[in-house]
């Protein structure tokens, strides 16, 4: 089955790339922010990560794996997970969150608080949320649906999620459980598996060139000798995404 024959979209490649981050993750809460990561998490649970635990977006854990656009009536809950208990889970480490990043730098410092000087920002965004605590307590990954020099920057305006350089400068208390795992963007997958934890190209999505990635990134990426291409969804995965988990096509609306 060729790509053309089934018209695989970039969003579907991104969802599979997200899902891959949770392969064999075991019994942890996976908290995806954004439609594509949410689709990836559900896909992972229905295929190669059956044990992962997913919330209903409110205060419960879902026993079933309903589609993204499902009404609350379609969710079967297995246990309560109010916010206070979420913090117990965060601080226990039994969680892998995929947050969004308005800005991210080469060491994985992330910003979703504000653009410009924090004291009087040009643009106030949502706030640091749980990013500081997440990043020093359990695995954290990021989803950037629009890879550009505005989002992949030399310096973030406010460090919310803690990157490798910051964690290591603080010492053991911050770095002990620090694990910024990966960044998935609309152009590729990136990780920090380098000696000094600078961001590295793990794979580029089909049809994306390394030049394109470099041009859209505000710092120098580590590029290995052989750069992989992000894998395509299998026929089973495509069927699950299109016909079971996201028949409404929410995944396509997140990419510009």
């Amino acid at each position: 089955m060729s790509i053309d024959a089934v018209g695989i979209t970039r969003a579907e490649v991104c969802a599979v790339a997200c899902a891959e981050l949770w392969r064999d993750a075991g019994e942890i809460i996976v908290s995806p922010f954004g439609s594509v990561p949410a689709l990836g998490a559900r896909l992972a649970r229905l295929t190669f990560a059956p044990e992962i635990v997913l919330t209903d977006g409110e205060a419960g854990l879902m026993a079933n794996t309903p589609p993204l656009s499902a009404s609350r009536d379609a969710m079967v809950l297995e246990a309560p997970m109010p916010y206070r208990r979420v913090f117990d889970v965060v601080w226990s480490g039994r969680r892998h969150v995929m947050m969004m990043a308005s800005q991210i730098d080469r060491y994985g410092n992330q910003n979703l608080s504000c653009i410009g000087d924090w004291a009087r920002p040009k643009a106030q965004l949502i706030g640091v949320r749980g990013a500081p605590g997440n990043t020093v307590n359990h695995p954290t990954s990021y989803w950037v649906p629009s890879h550009s020099t505005r989002s992949f920057v030399e310096r973030v305006d406010m460090v919310c999620g803690v990157g490798y350089d910051r964690a290591s400068a603080v010492g053991a208390a911050a770095s002990r459980f620090h694990d910024v795992r990966a960044v998935v963007s609309d152009l590729g997958v990136f990780d920090f598996d380098t000696p000094d934890h600078r961001m590295r190209v793990r794979s580029v999505h089909p049809g994306v060139s390394l030049d394109e990635v470099a041009e859209a990134t505000g710092f120098d990426l580590v590029v290995p000798d052989e750069v992989a291409t992000s894998r395509l969804p299998t026929p089973e995965e495509l069927d699950l995404m299109r016909n079971v988990l996201d028949p409404a096509g929410l995944r396509e609306r997140e990419l510009s």
């Binding site: 409110e58 205060a59 419960g60 309560p80 109010p82 916010y83 206070r84 913090f87 965060v90 601080w91 608080s113 504000c114 924090w118 004291a119 009087r120 920002p121 040009k122 643009a123 106030q124 965004l125 949502i126 706030g127 640091v128 949320r129 749980g130 990013a131 500081p132 605590g133 990043t135 020093v136 307590n137 406010m158 460090v159 919310c160 999620g161 803690v162 910051r166 964690a167 400068a169 603080v170 010492g171 053991a172 208390a173 911050a174 002990r176 459980f177 620090h178």
Partner: protein, 293 residues
């Protein structure tokens, strides 16, 4: 036994300029909005607002009542950002203490437990420590020697939470899926106020929901006010969901202060009494579900 019922007008009359006031709920969920509206009808100013922020923060900022906001985020949930809070920050009109939402929880817990701080990893290495230079770290006295953030107690002069039900003694019941941190807001405060969709006789709460849903005991409550639709336009499950159409109108108007849309919204919905507010909402025809009373 004390009957703690009071009117919201009497309750807010106890507040003073410059106080630090906590508001329960989370984002645009079960916010004590009737209490916020009651504050808007006073002349109170220079408030420090402590909140898992939603339109409570936005409305108080819009009315110029805020000196400082203590928050981890301010959001309307289904709409990512609150326009009034954004404007206040971008114009430099308010001070801010922006902290991790888990640090926020520990600050309330520390105040409730009357300890000066609680230790946490959250905040380490982030700019939360830079933009809040008053934050300190503390070294573990045990062999590990880890140096952690000492999250200071968030002591409140007053706190408001909104419940689905309460009784006249001040026990309060949350029938929705998440009690949030409401008991800790009350525990952290010197003056502790509960509003509820309906106030019943003591002993009658178990007719409304299971024992575990009574998240607040009367040990934590000084006064109780019955405020039907008291969380509107935020959600108050299972009594009513978020009034999305009304919230959208709020956000759109809030984004257009210069053009006069916000003044028109305020004149239509906020300038009168609570009864006038509810009548204006009924007139808008956007509310889902209904208050139980």
């Amino acid at each position: 036994m004390t009957d703690k019922r009071a009117s919201l007008e009497d309750v807010v009359a106890e507040l003073r300029d410059g106080m630090t006031i906590g508001f329960g709920g989370w984002g645009s969920r079960r916010k004590p909005m009737a209490a916020v509206r009651a504050i808007l009808r006073t002349e109170l100013r220079d408030l420090t607002v402590v909140s898992y922020g939603g339109p409570d923060v936005g409305l108080l900022c819009a009315a110029g009542r805020v000196r400082k906001v203590v928050y981890g985020f301010v959001t309307l949930d289904s709409i990512a950002l609150d326009p009034h809070f954004r404007r206040a920050r971008q114009q430099g009109a308010i001070e801010a203490m922006e902290i991790d939402e888990g640090m926020f929880y520990l600050g309330l817990l520390a105040a409730s437990q009357r300890v000066p701080f609680l230790p946490t990893r959250a905040g380490l290495g982030s700019d939360v420590m830079t933009v809040n230079p008053e934050l300190r770290t503390v070294r573990s006295p045990y062999d590990d020697g880890e140096e952690l953030v000492a999250m200071p107690a968030l002591e409140l002069d007053a706190a408001f939470v909104h419940a689905n039900r309460a009784d006249t003694h001040g026990n309060a019941q949350m029938l929705g899926p998440d009690p949030f941190f409401d008991d800790l807001f009350l525990g952290a405060a010197r003056r502790r106020y509960v509003t509820a969709e309906r106030v019943v006789e003591p002993g009658k709460l178990l007719e409304e929901g299971p024992m575990q849903s009574i998240a607040v005991t009367r040990l934590l409550t000084d006064a109780v006010a019955e405020t039907p639709m008291g969380a509107h336009f935020t959600s108050c499950d299972p009594d009513y969901g978020r009034d999305e159409a009304f919230q959208t109108a709020y956000a759109k108007a809030g984004a257009d202060v210069e053009g006069g849309a916000w003044a028109a919204f305020a004149a239509r919905h906020l300038d009168g009494s609570e009864q006038d507010y509810l009548a204006s909402v009924a007139d808008a025809g956007t509310a889902q579900g209904s208050s139980p009373s």
